[in-house]
Symmetry: C2
Subunit: 104 residues, 2 copies
């Protein structure tokens, strides 16, 4: 079926290009599948930090752990079940707390 | 900040138009916010079922419970952490199991 159910167990996590921290991503759906979006998981080890300016909009759902999101001088901590909406063009720092984090 | 952290606690769940089952949606970001995507949560009570033909592509992340997704004659059950990719144009049946479900 063209409808897909994806799970973290079938994902192969890799270092993101240009990142040297213990942050890993696994893309399960991307432009190779002909769709307009990239879908995958991210795994952050404890205390890892990622800063980026969004070249595309990204919506992240926190599945496990906790992340502090800082943008425009404001910080907010996300818990499991929270959705982080990061529009194109925004500069965002994502920092994992003690427990690390798994995101979709 | 333009970056937003959304949580299920701040969502107000409502019946989806045209639905009379115990399935509720809460949109937190939509075209009113100027972005290209709608972001929200869905809550399915036990054994509720939703059938639709996708007028836009939808990516659903299962946060709690279990859902059986049927499309093109194939069925697969999604567990928490699973991502369901439902491209535009596909006909999908989403059925909640015993525990109901919370989706992002």
């Amino acid at each position: 079926m063209n409808v897909r159910v994806l799970s973290p167990e079938e994902a192969s996590f890799e270092h993101s290009p240009g990142q040297d921290g213990d942050i890993f991503f696994a893309n399960l759906v991307d432009e190779r599948h002909g769709g307009p979006v990239t879908i995958g998981y991210g795994r952050y080890w404890p205390h890892q930090r990622l800063q980026e300016t969004m070249t595309v909009g990204d919506v992240m759902v926190l599945l496990e752990g906790a992340l502090t999101i800082t943008s425009g001088g404001e910080a907010r901590t996300a818990a499991p079940g929270d959705i982080v909406d990061m529009p194109k063009g925004e500069t965002v720092e994502i920092r994992a707390l003690e427990a690390g984090a798994l995101t979709a």
